[in-house]
Every structure is written in structure tokens, then in C-alpha cells.
């Protein structure tokens, strides 16, 4: 009978905690507007570094241009750090923020 018992409440709490922790570990990569980088250049960098489609890259570039910033990726800390460096390597103003 015990073999098919439901998971205990303690295990449910653990699962919730694990899920919450997993989400807390997501880092956002943000690209900020700047007066120098050309729009088609930003699109190129998004395609090159973030592997975006032309349409997606254009959409994010427009968001950067019109709203001042765009969340371009959500990754683990290590990957987000790598992407920020790659984007900065092409001269884009990119940062990473938690959550």
C-alpha cells in the first residue's frame, strides 16, 4: 500500500523552492540605446551574437531605439555574462540584470 503513496507535503515545498530558485537564477541581458551605433549594425549584431532571425533582431532594435532598452535574452548567469561581453565586443551597450 505504501508503495503507491502520494508525495508528502514536505516534498511539494521542496519542489516549489527549487522552482523559485531556478527562476531567481535567470539573468536578463539588456541592450541600451546609444547615439552612435547604426540601426542596421545593431540588427547585424543581434543576429550574429544572439542568433536572432532578421525579424526578431529588427523588432528588438526598434525597441532599443524607441524605448531606450530591450531585454534581448534571459539566461543563466554564466551565459548572460558571455553574451554581454560578446555584445560589448561589437560596441553595443549591454548589461545584465537579475531576475
Amino acid at each position: 500500500m505504501n508503495a503507491i503513496a502520494s508525495p508528502t507535503p514536505v516534498e511539494e515545498v521542496d519542489a516549489q523552492t527549487r522552482t523559485r530558485n531556478a527562476f531567481e537564477k535567470v539573468w536578463g541581458v539588456i541592450v541600451w540605446n546609444d547615439p552612435v551605433n547604426l540601426m542596421p549594425y545593431v540588427v547585424f549584431v543581434f543576429k550574429r551574437v544572439l542568433k536572432m532571425t532578421q525579424e526578431m533582431a529588427h523588432q528588438h532594435m526598434m525597441e532599443v531605439h524607441q524605448r531606450g532598452k530591450s531585454l534581448v535574452a534571459q539566461e543563466t548567469r554564466e551565459k548572460a555574462e558571455f553574451l554581454v561581453h560578446q555584445l560589448q565586443g561589437f560596441g553595443l551597450q549591454a548589461t545584465m540584470e537579475k531576475g
Binding site: P35, V36, N37, L38, P40, Y41, F44, K47, R48, R77, E81, V84, H85, Q88, G89, F90, G91, T95, M96, E97, K98
Partner: protein, 170 residues
């Protein structure tokens, strides 16, 4: 200026005046890339140091846990210096009489874009250029140094446009 793509190669053809301007930018970059970071202006040092985040708390957290990536940035500088020196080489096709030609493969074309973008961004930083300044007509600028900086930024942007039309992101 002309830009032609053939298979994986991009050929940039410059008229004499364009070539001279490009040579000037590349020579300036050669000087910049080969200068010891500590002797660069504070703005240029900040450019190469970079910032991973705008948040002080996160910055502290990252500096405690992250590996030191400033070495990576130094590597970019030295890699770009090698390329710039290659493009500026005496036997190179930019040093011939009259116009000039640069033939770049896909990877080099991407590097070329990033290199001339460095020059544009560094000029903008040194002259505190904002959106309004960037769109101001050159004839409306009295400061000749600033006028020249803006002229160079716009000229390099034209080259970027040509290349961006010619390259394909895999």
C-alpha cells in the same frame, strides 16, 4: 566606394580620397590599440574596462564571483591591432597609389565592422556626443575639431552601411 561580394569574400573598393580618410582612421586606431591602457584617457579606459551591469549590488556580486574578464578585453585590443596592422601594411592594397582595395573574408569583414565601430564610439566618447549632436548638420558646428570628429564618424558609418549590405550572417 564600392562593395562586392563573391562567395565568402567581400571586396571593398575606395576612391583615393576615401582611401586616405580610411587610412587616417586606421592609423589612429593602430595608435590607440597599441597604447598602454593606463596611459589612455579616462573615457577610453572606461570604454575598455566595460561594465557588466548598472546595478551597484549586482556589480559587487559579479566581481566577487566572476572570473576577471578584463583580460578578454585586452585580448580584443591586441587582436584588433594585428588586423589593423595587416590592413595598413606597406605592401597592402590600401597603400598603393590612387584608390585602394580591401578584400575581406566573412570573419574579417565582421572584425572590420567592429574595428571601425570602435573608432566611431571612441570619438563620440571623447567629444561627449549625444543624439542631438549626432544629427546636427556639420555646417552648423563651429568647433573644427568637433566638426572633423563628426565627419569621420559619419564617413565610417557609410562604410559600415556598405559592408552590412554585403555580408550575410550565417
Amino acid at each position: 566606394m564600392r562593395c562586392e561580394r563573391s562567395n565568402n569574400w567581400l571586396t571593398l573598393e575606395f576612391e583615393e580620397r576615401e582611401k586616405e580618410l580610411l587610412l587616417y582612421s586606421l592609423e589612429e586606431l593602430e595608435g590607440h590599440y597599441s597604447t598602454d591602457e593606463s596611459t589612455l584617457s579616462t573615457k577610453s579606459q572606461a570604454y575598455w574596462k566595460g561594465k557588466l551591469t548598472h546595478s551597484k549590488d549586482i556589480e559587487k556580486e559579479l566581481s566577487e564571483e566572476s572570473v576577471d574578464l578584463s583580460e578578454t578585453r585586452r585580448l580584443w585590443k591586441s587582436e584588433r591591432l594585428i588586423l589593423v596592422r595587416k590592413w595598413l601594411a606597406e605592401e597592402g592594397t590600401l597603400k598603393t597609389q590612387g584608390g585602394g582595395i580591401l578584400v575581406l573574408d566573412q570573419g574579417e569583414a565582421e572584425q572590420f565592422l567592429a574595428v571601425i565601430n570602435d573608432r566611431r564610439l571612441l570619438l563620440a566618447l571623447e567629444h561627449n556626443l549625444d543624439e542631438e549632436m549626432m544629427s546636427r548638420h556639420l555646417s552648423k558646428i563651429n568647433d573644427s575639431e568637433l566638426q572633423q570628429a563628426l565627419w569621420e564618424i559619419h564617413f565610417l558609418a557609410i562604410i559600415q552601411h556598405y559592408i552590412l549590405e554585403g555580408i550575410d550572417v550565417p
